[in-house]
């Protein structure tokens, strides 16, 4: 073992617009620490580690680092591998072989769990490894932290998309349904509420996975808005389900034949327009048919599924999100070296210390407080099963950054 310890960094799971800010935050802070030797970037997360597939990250130019920080998606490559016990044994072997004493893993709750297992194994085996998890997810569903790096920028995309789509729908009236990412949590879909400035602005209806979805209620909701405004913009999560909490009651299951399950046992909902088309057909065949029968008028119904655009769109970045993602990366290095309250391994979390002006501070938390379980949208923030409360808007606004105010003539 050399006098200095080496550090490894990996990125995991779905990319975000600012996951490279965290990566660069880790790299920059490691570069400032004299006890760190080589900085090894693992290609495609844990997969790169077990294969010894590393990119050297010492001595990169400040210019390249800044360019990488501003580039969406995971610059080291990502993975969907969820290590089991055997896989973690191989990770530890690789760390020993490459004298890695510090491991930084940027990812969601599954990554935090991997970090936890590896840290425990290392402790048992006597290898001096410190593992810090840097939170990342557009879903905003990690426990303990006030919010997650990656969420603000994705939420900004969703808010802008709904603002534009509502203006589009004002111009050519009809029913428009937008399907938004978020398998189990409605945080991202809820952010569509930030698109509104005036009473008649859409989205007029918001559906999240945290409450039961009923087709009859959905149709009644759309009918009510359409009757009042002559149009209706709907934001619905890809994860809406007939029974909240029951993964086997997804509405999209009704729409998709078969369906694909990923390595974590999660059903694949993205990359298909099936749910949007299903809800759209439902409105057309019920409300549209009724309208045509009673008045002869035709109801224009469309659906869009935002898909991967939400998580990797260049230039749509919340400045706050970018700043905090970088900060969380840097703080992971400091916590790994200082082990606050004895946490030689842990996860970086954020606490909101002031609302006006918005201000956060970071802290270290045990990996077990972040691993595995996720954090749903607060049920009190869901209104009538089809909207979100003003408190949610207050919560989300500073994370998303300033939004344009549309100019209107009619």
């Amino acid at each position: 073992m050399s006098a200095k310890g080496n550090a490894a960094i990996g990125q995991s799971g779905g990319p975000t617009a600012v996951i490279n800010q965290s990566l660069v935050g880790v790299i920059e802070e490691l570069g400032r620490q004299p006890q760190i030797g080589r900085i090894l970037g693992a290609r495609h997360g844990v997969r790169g580690i077990i294969n010894g597939d590393f990119v050297p990250l010492n001595n990169l130019s400040a210019e390249l680092l800044e360019q990488v920080a501003q580039t969406p998606s995971s610059a080291l490559g990502s993975t969907r591998d969820k290590p089991d016990e055997q896989y973690c044994v191989k990770l530890l072997e690789s760390f020993k072989k490459h004298d890695v004493q510090y491991f930084f893993y940027i990812g969601g709750n599954d990554s935090a769990d991997t970090a936890r297992i590896v840290a425990e194994m290392a402790a048992k085996s006597g290898h001096p490894l410190r593992v810090y998890h840097v939170p990342k997810t557009i879903d905003n569903d990690l426990r303990t932290t006030d919010h997650c790096p990656g969420y603000g920028s994705a939420a900004r995309f969703v808010a802008l998309a709904l603002m534009g789509d509502d203006l589009d729908n004002r111009s050519l009236k009809g029913v428009k349904i937008d399907i938004i990412m978020g398998r189990d949590a409605g945080w991202l879909t809820a952010a569509s509420a930030l698109a509104r400035h005036e009473d008649t602005d859409g989205p007029h209806l918001i559906y999240v996975p945290e409450v039961d979805f009923s087709e009859d209620k959905f149709l009644a909701d759309v009918d009510r808005v359409y009757t009042k405004l002559g149009r209706c913009v709907v934001a619905a999560s890809e994860g809406i389900r007939f029974k909240a909490g029951d993964k086997n009651s997804l509405v999209t299951e009704k729409a998709v034949q078969g369906g694909e399950v990923d390595a974590h046992g999660n059903k694949q909902l993205s990359g298909t327009g099936a749910l949007g088309d299903y809800l759209s057909d439902l409105v057309k065949n019920k409300l549209g048919a009724q309208l045509q029968k009673s008045t002869g008028a035709k109801m224009r119904v469309r659906a869009d599924t935002f898909g991967y655009l939400q998580r990797s769109f260049p230039t749509i970045v919340s400045p706050t999100d970018a700043f905090e993602a970088r900060l969380c990366g840097a703080m992971a290095v400091r916590y790994a070296l200082s082990a606050p309250e004895g946490l030689t391994s842990g996860s970086v979390a954020m606490r909101r210390v002031s609302e006006h002006p918005y201000k956060i501070e970071t802290f270290a938390t045990a990996l077990g407080n972040v691993a595995r379980q996720t954090k749903p949208l607060d049920a009190t923030w869901v209104i009538n099963g089809c909207d979100v409360a003003a408190d949610f808007v207050t919560y989300a606004k500073p994370l998303v950054g300033p939004l344009p105010i549309p100019g209107k003539l009619i």
Copy 2:
């Protein structure tokens, strides 16, 4: 009839990110002309005219006008109505009733045709009406003009989306298919080529409606790229068809049951994820199944349909496009008043007078040169049926504005 003539303005067809720049260009220039009386904004295009449903546009504050100019979608509301002879008679009656002597219609080729019919009817009836069409379409398929206001910003969205999606696909490898707007012309899909900076950057395959689409060739193309790079990003137009020029051979027809026809007799292709899902299933069931059989490896295949986000996304605006859209609005007013080469009615077009530096000038052209027929992508710009030529990139680059250059580590 008063000493001054009134002016009416309408917006038509699918909205764009800069259609309000043209609107404000018309309003501002009208405000400078002493012979113009009232400025009437027609709510929802021709429909507002026949219903006498006007918004007064004189004396709006410069601040509101600027805010409207920067807001996507049609601030006066739009319409899909395609006036027939009888409808045009009603338009003329309304113009006479409201003493409208100048009519500015911001729209595509259908709007140019409406403008042409109304101008001819007015001339026959002796009503002193001058009609100017202001070009607008994200499809870039209007004849005579070098390019259309609205295209640059939509093309910018597509280029950025593909850049982000390619980075996403580098990170989590697989086959990704993106479906892009453009019913009959591949201009917008072709703009995806602007996302590339290096050899391995996607989109790796580009399919436009101007050439025959073959499922076998498509699969062979994807297989070739995937074998080489371990991934493949595809940009395909919603209007790809088995026989170029044959509207009855749309690939999406195979994917959609029934299908909806709009008021212009055009098949409704947007607002459904069916084509993306169809192509995705094709790759999964053929190439994916082969791969799994021969190596046991799984092929990750996803599709996104960009939908309406392409045409109304706030903040994604090409500065050149915004400038030119405003200019075309202002020039429509000047041409209507000056009638260059006797064109008391006409359409505003752009001519590229210099490539380096990029420079355009506007000119007036007869409405018949823009109405009805559309302009396809130059066939010499399509390479091997699955890419676009460097000449196209040279053409499109200045219209889209500067794009970020991704920072890469692997």
